[in-house]
């Protein structure tokens, strides 16, 4: 099995870190949000062949993050998902469904109530 590394970075460094990974040839594997008390932990996973690594943001509930969809095109799906399920605010999404990616009876059901 390969090792898994998770590096926590600051919100401001997200785009530069992601561009660096893109330049190194990594592909986006997934983006996952988790509620941790009154914060969100957002984990971006990347792979290069069989190597797998993650970078992580910790942001307050009301904070905004930049979309990485301008760097990794498939990110728009994961980011719209986070927006719909957790209510995370994401700036500059390449395709923004405005909270209608999933047809949900209850808005932002995964958000801490």
């Amino acid at each position: 099995m390969t090792t898994q590394s998770i590096t926590t970075i600051s919100n401001e460094n997200l785009i530069s870190e992601v561009i660096k990974l893109k330049d190194e040839g990594y592909r986006l594997v997934q983006i996952c949000a988790t509620t941790v008390n009154s914060e969100y932990e957002i984990t971006y996973s990347f792979a290069l062949d069989y190597e797998f690594l993650c970078i992580r943001l910790m942001i307050p509930e009301e904070a905004e993050i930049m979309s990485i969809s301008q760097v990794f095109a498939p990110a728009f799906l994961y980011e719209n998902e986070m927006k719909d399920l957790f209510g995370i605010k994401i700036n500059a999404l390449s395709l923004d469904y405005q909270g209608n990616f999933y047809r949900l009876e209850q808005k932002t059901p995964y958000k801490n109530q």
Binding site: M1, T2, Q4, I6, R27, L28, V29, Q30, C32, T34, V36, T43, S45, D49, Y50, F52, C54, F72, A73, P74, L77, D84, L95, Y97, N100, F101, Y102, R103, L104, P109, Y110
Partner: protein, 359 residues
């Protein structure tokens, strides 16, 4: 420039067993852009982990989807086992490998049938599903279920296969190979099938990488990645090559899946010969703490099972990134520039599983 029009496709459509909607932007009969819309059957299964004991959640994980159910259960269990440092008995790992490969065979046969149905070759559809029934019978024989198997548990498996059963399975697969060869010849050589698949919906290697394609969708564009090579379950002790094609069209995606069926039979044969005689499961004590990303190769490609424990019986988070979700951008890419008549076949060539996507 021709006038543009928008044609809604789905959520109900003869080729879609499950609902997905696309807005197809057309110029005459040519698709310029496809905008997806999902969420018709979103169930919020990931959230349920906050109310279900981590051991009981295995039953939820395998109900994410009826086709990929075994590997969903196995992937979740493996992720939990990794956070808890549990070393699963080798026999259980071999049994997981055998059931996992049987899942791949039945999923690929199901897909071949749906593809044949999409381009109107009904006898080919029926032949594919007739063979698939045999795999379901084998599942029923060893697990008691045909769709949901409930044989995985944290620490191992609940059921065994004795040597007579394994010998019988090898014989069934040997007999099936003759029928499979005849069936797949029609897919690969028939003139009308070829005209619907060859040169249609090309996904280049660069685009497959850029768009994060996984599984046969990626491998048929020439990328040699198969997460079974990471060596989980018993794959580290079995010999197999990653099946690829450099072409990237619908035909290549069909060819790769067909070759994977034969490969899965060989993997099962090896596993049946090498399976060690150990116990089936360990007694699990304690609760998961820490986090882990388990990567497993579903029939449709790499799936990610993320778990985060907090030292209690309830997990903080389960996240399943399914292969269809990862393949949606590639699907949109291959639709660009295609003819409207090819849209149903092209959507099918990613082997979409909407239940998985909307877990």
């Amino acid at each position: 420039m021709s006038a543009r029009s928008i044609v809604p496709f789905g959520p109900q459509h003869p080729v879609l067993p499950e609902p997905i909607h696309l807005d197809l932007v057309l110029e005459d009969e040519t698709v310029i852009e496809a905008i997806p819309s999902i969420g018709f059957v979103h169930r919020g299964l990931e959230k349920l982990v906050e109310k279900k004991d981590f051991q009981d959640y295995v039953y939820v994980a395998e109900r994410i989807c009826g086709i990929c159910s075994f590997i969903h259960g196995m992937g979740y269990c493996s992720a939990i086992e990794s956070t808890m440092g549990i070393e699963v008995p080798r026999r259980a790992e071999y049994l997981r490998t055998i059931w996992g490969e049987m899942s791949r065979i039945h999923s690929h046969l199901l897909w071949l049938g749906l593809l044949a149905d999409a381009f109107g070759f009904e006898s080919l559809f029926m032949q594919s599903w007739k063979l698939r029934e045999k795999i379901l019978d084998m599942f029923e024989m060893t697990t008691g279920g045909r769709v949901i198997f409930s044989v995985n548990q944290i620490g191992g498996v609940k059921r065994d296969m004795d040597s007579d059963t394994l010998k019988l399975f090898i014989k069934i697969f040997d007999d099936m190979k003759k029928e499979l060869t005849a069936l797949t010849k029609a897919f690969l050589n028939d003139y009308s099938v070829n005209t619907r698949l060859k040169g249609v919906g090309i996904l280049t290697k660069e685009k497959a990488h850029e768009l994060g394609a996984v599984g046969p969708m990626m491998r048929s564009s020439g990328i040699e990645i198969d997460t079974r090579k990471l060596g989980y379950s018993a794959y580290n002790e079995l010999d197999f090559q990653v099946i690829t094609s450099p072409v990237g069209d619908s035909y290549a995606r069909t060819e790769v899946r067909i070759n994977e069926i034969f490969q899965s039979i060989e993997i099962i044969r090896q596993a049946a010969q090498k399976i060690p005689d150990t116990e089936l499961s360990l007694v699990v004590k304690g609760f998961p703490s820490g986090e882990y990303f388990m990567r497993a190769e579903q029939p449709r490609g790499e799936a990610i099972y993320y778990v985060k424990g907090n030292g209690t019986k309830f997990l903080d988070r389960v996240r399943v990134r399914t292969p269809t979700f990862a393949n949606l951008p590639s699907m949109l890419e291959v639709l660009k520039g295609c003819q409207l008549a090819d849209v149903p076949t092209l959507i099918l060539t990613i082997d979409p599983c909407i239940s998985c996507t909307e877990r």
